[in-house]
């Protein structure tokens, strides 16, 4: 079994060459765009536009390569709050996504049903049972869609996650449980979070396959997710994938990693950055040349600039939005309170 210790650079055979050229190039493009957008978001926080931001730096392969395996017409992804690159890959309106980080609306301002990407959710583990329910709904209706639930090593301790795994095992639901084990749940390392050392190993107890992949190897992630989805779609039931990766950035822009982890460890993982790793693999496989990289980077920068301008100038929500979405069928009392708000509060 793989362990989470960072092996020396290059000691893991890279199977990127195993990906079809077109998939690999698309994954690289989305990973690069996510990296640039992530960097831009940190800058927006530093400029005071975002009150805070949670970076996914280092987890681009785990997110993009898994999301790229989804069928955007049939499947549904349930994120927590660090899945920006999943949203990007699935084509979610990124200005709407980043609205959550600009504190314009907690869940973001995109349409989760149309995007097939759930609302941003800060209670880790909470959305995992939703994936099981959504997937069961597909089965009951005779459809072939699969759900993917994203969660982290910290969330794996939550009862909700264990309940969801068991439910999925019992119902044989078409779900992929995709754990990004980025080694640190805020300040708590794997050793103090995961009894037994492996989240994937727990799958056996819930009657499903548990697979550990190098989460910084885009091809390994993509192939594992694709196999799990194929299995789920053909009635084979759920799979738990544990992608071993690393959160290169602090937990959030207000976090200070020097309080709890070693710089040496960060440096060691920096050397395994999934982005240059995929770039090199693409080059070696003959899938990309300088012209390709330049073209991809130009495109990514232009896309990020559009998103940046969009979120920086997005209008704040109307005050009346406080009341608009509480109910489908609003109550008299709430209408009374809204009148009170208009008379006494509205600027």
């Amino acid at each position: 079994m793989q362990t989470h210790a960072p092996p020396g650079a290059g000691s893991t055979p890279d199977r990127t060459g195993a990906l079809p050229a077109e998939s690999a190039r698309r994954i690289y493009r989305d990973m690069l765009t996510a990296r640039l957008l992530d960097t831009e978001a940190i800058a927006l926080q530093r400029q005071g536009v975002f009150p805070a931001y949670v970076s996914l730096r280092g987890q681009e392969a785990a997110q993009v390569a898994s999301a790229a395996a989804l069928d955007r017409d049939r499947d549904f992804a349930f994120p927590t709050y660090r899945e920006m690159a999943v949203a990007l890959t699935l084509g979610v309106d990124m200005v709407g996504y980043l609205a959550s980080h600009r504190a314009l609306w907690h869940g973001g301002r995109y349409d989760p049903i149309a995007s097939r990407f759930g609302s941003i959710n800060a209670v880790v583990g909470g959305p995992v049972p939703h994936a099981v329910g959504w997937a069961l709904g597909e089965r009951l209706r005779g459809e072939t869609g699969c759900a993917i639930a994203y969660f982290g090593d910290g969330a794996s301790s939550q009862g909700d996650v264990h309940e969801a795994l068991n439910f999925a095992g019992v119902f044989g639901s078409p779900v992929v449980f995709f754990c990004q084990n980025n080694r640190w749940a805020l300040s708590v390392p794997n050793e103090r979070q995961i009894a037994g050392g492996s989240i994937a190993a727990r799958a056996a107890g819930y009657g499903m396959p548990g697979i550990t992949v190098d989460g910084n190897d885009a091809a390994a992630v993509h192939n594992a997710t694709r196999s799990a989805l194929d299995r789920a779609r053909s009635g084979g039931g759920p799979t738990l994938i544990e992608a071993l990766t690393y959160r290169l950035a602090p937990h959030s822009t207000s976090d200070d990693t020097t309080r709890y982890r070693d710089r040496g460890e960060e440096h060691a993982w920096q050397e395994r950055d999934p982005l240059p790793r995929l770039g090199t693999a693409l080059e070696e496989a003959g899938h990309a040349d300088t012209a390709f990289f330049e073209q991809i980077e130009d495109g990514a920068r232009a896309a990020v600039e559009r998103i940046r301008d969009g979120i920086a100038t997005a209008p704040p929500p109307a005050g009346s939005d406080l009341f608009t979405y509480v109910y489908r069928e609003p109550t008299e009392e709430l209408a009374r309170q809204q009148r009170l708000w208009r008379e006494e509060v509205e600027p």
Binding site: A9, D262, R263, G264, H267, A268, Q270
Partner: protein
């Protein structure tokens, strides 16, 4: 975290991981009467060497390592044996060394005895002068010689064992430093304070050994050079140099 190597004299050491960019670990050898903690940690070398894997050792008679009281327990070759034992235990084939004062002398001895184990060495606060000139070796620390003063200050530090330090002094003095033979295959860098009398003659020694340099730190003496940024920068730059930089040596 510190660990204990259970040798004939227990040796306390510590290791820190580095990044893959720096494959050769750096062994830090402290000076007489000091310890890894006070020579290297409190002086900011941990921050300066960020990214380098490091090994820190409390030399016998110092810090939290064992402190025998016989002179023979402190000859240079005994120290060399300790260091090789530690490198073996850690599975480390070759190291770079940063030494200070007595630690530099030991780095020199190790490079002579086991050139296969030392890649490069930075020798701080060190020169070919007889460090013990004018010192009363029967009662170290009772005279006004340069070493007498060093000994007196060291023996007064909490945690130090004056009897062990006296034995260490005699064990070292019984085998005075000689500039010949020199460790020919090991690139060396000398650094000392401008006002460090214990490093007199450093420049000549550097020239004779074909060293990469002999840097004097402005306005610093033997004690205060340890924390100097110029010392750290030159050491880090020297250790990070590409191997090709030394192909002519």
């Amino acid at each position: 975290m510190y660990r204990i190597l259970p040798a004939d004299v227990p040796l306390r050491y510590t290791t820190a991981p580095g990044s893959a960019r720096h494959p050769v670990p750096v062994l830090l050898l402290h000076g007489f009467g000091s310890s890894h903690e006070s020579n290297w940690v409190r002086t900011g070398w941990g921050r300066a060497l960020e990214g380098f894997p490091t090994v820190g050792l409390d030399l016998r008679g110092h810090g939290n390592s064992g402190k025998p009281h016989t002179d023979e327990a402190y000859t240079p070759s005994v120290f060399v044996t300790d260091i090789v034992l530690l490198l073996d235990a850690l599975g480390i084939e070759r190291v770079d060394i940063i030494g200070y004062s007595m630690g530099s002398r030991l780095a020199w001895e190790l490079a002579l005895a086991r050139p296969d184990r030392v890649r490069r060495a930075v020798l701080g606060g060190f020169g070919p002068v007889n460090a013990f000139a004018g010192a009363d070796l029967d009662r170290p620390g009772t005279d006004q010689s340069p070493f007498g003063q060093v000994h007196r200050a060291a023996a007064a530090l909490p945690g130090n064992d004056p009897a062990a330090l006296a034995a260490c002094t005699r064990g070292q003095a019984a085998h005075p430093f000689t500039a010949v033979p020199a460790p020919a295959g090991t690139p060396l860098l000398f650094v000392a304070g401008e006002r460090d009398g214990l490093a007199d003659g450093m420049e000549r020694l550097a020239q004779d050994t074909g060293a990469a340099g002999a840097l004097r730190v402005a306005r610093r003496d033997h004690r205060t050079t340890v924390s100097a940024q110029a010392f750290k920068k030159s050491a880090v730059e020297f250790l990070a140099r590409a191997p090709a930089a030394f192909s002519a040596v």
